[in-house]
């Protein structure tokens, strides 16, 4: 088994000579078994992954869709019957759901916008060589490695006037009348998870945008500088057009991901106070985990899925347009 490795380079040189004819007679001589194995090979490689995805993700997805039309309560052994569209009728009149929908828009919009803006600035800063760049880069990307439950707890503690400095600083700046916890203030509570999310998510945008920035040919900038283009002009005429496809795809995909990202909210506020921080994803989790109403949770999930599907179609179409243009 070892010696085919040794002869490899030499054979490769020989291959060039026989290239045109070498493959042909051999394939004829191949036995049927060989051909079947060869044909089955890619399926053998992908089978374990495919089986897991189908049984652990696709099957529950379908099962979940059926729950949306059934009465499924974890603690009630007699539940499970079909209720038709009852869940959706309840949902139609559920003010908490509409509030969660509005909160989702606010949570997603603010988080994505702030992560993107600060991520872009960071990427531009890191794109410029300076002493200690590697260390600075490792340090500013560190939040991305912090587990999300810990990010949530950490920021909840920072906002807590008993133990954290933030309320005292806000009070000292005159932004608060007394050092209070922003997470228990119905008007501003959403800012808590949003700030934690921005802290955690800036590195993701910065890393992706930095990779795109570093792919821009440097001589373009030099040529533009020689032609007398200023820094702002170079940014708008070279950097932005080059980054545009990356920005579009990253922002759109990230929007889907963040709108479903309930960890921080569940850890920091569990949707409170008075449901002011409840987003659709955390509402689904609360219905399943606390109310144990799997049927209703699945009905909300189905609505969320339809909304996301519509949004994803937009992404696919946009991607097509961008690829056609490239």
């Amino acid at each position: 088994m070892v010696d085919w490795k040794d002869g490899q380079l030499e054979r490769k040189r020989q291959l060039k000579v026989f290239d045109a004819t070498a493959g042909f007679p051999e394939s004829r001589r191949q036995s049927l078994v060989d051909r079947i194995t060869r044909h089955a090979e890619p399926y053998l490689y992908t089978a374990p992954a495919l089986i897991l995805i189908v049984t652990i993700m696709l099957a529950p997805l379908v099962l979940g869709l059926s729950y949306a039309f059934r009465d499924v309560h974890l603690l009630n052994p007699f539940s499970g019957g079909y209720v038709g569209l009852d869940h959706f009728r309840t949902l139609y009149d559920d003010d908490n759901f509409y509030r969660a929908l509005r909160n989702t828009l606010w949570w997603t919009g603010a988080s994505v916008f702030l992560q993107f803006v600060f991520g872009l600035i960071l990427a531009l800063l890191l794109d410029r060589p300076f002493a200690g760049r590697a260390v600075a880069q490792a340090l500013v990307f560190l939040p991305w490695a912090v587990p999300t439950f810990l990010t949530g707890l950490n920021w909840a503690w920072l906002f807590n006037p008993v133990i954290g400095p933030l309320p005292h600083w806000l009070y000292a700046l005159g932004l608060m009348s007394e050092p209070a916890n922003i997470l228990s203030n119905p008007q501003f509570a959403m800012w808590g998870p949003i700030i934690a999310n921005v802290w955690w998510g800036i590195p993701f945008f910065a890393i992706t945008l930095l990779a795109a920035l570093q792919a821009i040919p440097r001589d373009l900038y030099e040529a533009a500088a020689i032609d007398g283009a200023g820094a702002i002009r170079r940014f708008t005429s070279i950097t932005l057009p080059f980054l545009a496809p990356t920005i579009a795809i990253t922002v759109l995909l990230r929007t889907v991901w963040i709108s479903n990202f309930a960890d921080l909210i569940i850890v920091m506020t569990s949707g409170g106070p008075a449901d002011r921080t409840q987003i659709v994803a955390s509402y689904i989790f609360t219905q399943a985990f606390r109310a144990l109403d799997f049927g209703y949770a699945s009905a909300i999930a189905l609505v969320l899925l339809v909304l996301l599907l519509a949004y994803s179609m937009l992404i696919v179409m946009l991607r097509q347009v961008l690829m056609d243009r490239a």
């Binding site: 890619p42 992908t46 652990i56 991305w144 490695a145 439950f149 795809i249 960890d263 799997f294």
Partner: protein, 277 residues
């Protein structure tokens, strides 16, 4: 250098410094409270560093609490998930990189789909499915679930690493009589070791951080992972801030180690997947 560019450079360094401070401050505060003795916790609330340090919280957490069990459970779950996912994803990633086969398009579409839909949808049905199999409240159940969740992303990641290795290597080996699998195992895999390390790191971090499914599937201390244990601790003893933060610092250690380990591959990894955080 003229005064304009000196000013620009200073501004640039200042901005970098702001980012570094913003990134590190929450972690610094976590560390600070975890080493503050209880009697100073409230009297020195907003001081940057306590006048006296103590490791009593760490001692309590390590000796008198269930955190070592949570830590061990999380290690088992995250470690097993990372190894299994990397193994399976290098197979499927290799197939996507090297073979053209019927159904490949649908396989890729399926894997992309799993990255788009909200996993929180699956909380209830997965609980219902695993419960009769005895896989709720069990580490095995968590490993199975996390493995499935992480395979699509890991497959794309491994595929991007395989794509970077010239096909001629296997072709030469096959001319010399090796089967495709032998070429894969003996030539290609050793060349992708950095990619394997990166995938291990990404999956480990993801499994270490997962919260919602662990909360739903696990009840009771014996099979609790770190996130579940910490949240239970927080809701039960929400006044022992020092102990909670000491536990938090401990939860941070493996994630940070893996981060340092995979830091170099971050750019490639995130742009290959570009979907998941």
């Amino acid at each position: 250098m003229n005064s304009y560019s000196i000013f620009g450079t200073a501004l640039h360094r200042l901005a970098i410094l702001c980012y570094v401070v913003f990134a590190l401050f929450p972690l610094f505060w976590l560390l600070k409270v975890s080493v503050t003795p209880n009697d100073l916790l409230y009297s020195e609330g907003v001081r940057m560093w306590p006048s006296r340090m103590s490791f009593e919280h760490f001692r309590f957490v390590l000796v008198h609490s269930a955190f070592p069990v949570f830590f061990r459970n999380s290690m088992i779950v995250a470690g097993a998930t990372a190894v299994i996912v990397t193994l399976l994803a290098s197979l499927s990633g290799y197939a996507l990189s090297r073979f053209t086969f019927r159904g490949k398009y649908w396989l890729v579409a399926l894997m992309l789909l799993t990255q788009m839909f909200p996993l929180v949808m699956l909380v209830a049905p997965i609980f219902k499915m695993l419960s009769p199999l005895g896989l709720t409240n069990s580490l095995t159940g968590l490993v199975v679930v996390y493995t499935a969740f992480n395979i699509p992303f890991a497959t794309f990641l491994m595929q991007s690493f395989f794509d970077g290795i010239p096909k001629e290597l296997e072709e030469a080996a096959k001319i010399d009589g090796a089967t495709q699998f032998m070429a894969f195992r003996q030539i290609i895999l050793p060349l992708t070791l950095p990619g394997i390390a990166a995938t291990l790191g990404f999956v480990f971090t993801a499994a270490w951080s997962e919260l919602l499914f662990a909360l739903m599937l696990i009840s009771g201390n014996s099979a609790a992972t770190f996130p579940v244990g910490l949240l239970t601790f927080v809701s039960k003893f929400s006044v022992d801030f020092g102990q909670m933060m000491a536990a938090g610092v401990l939860a941070l250690i493996p994630a940070c180690l893996f981060f340092l380990f995979i830091q170099r591959y971050l750019v490639q990894g995130l742009t290959a997947g570009a979907v998941k955080g």
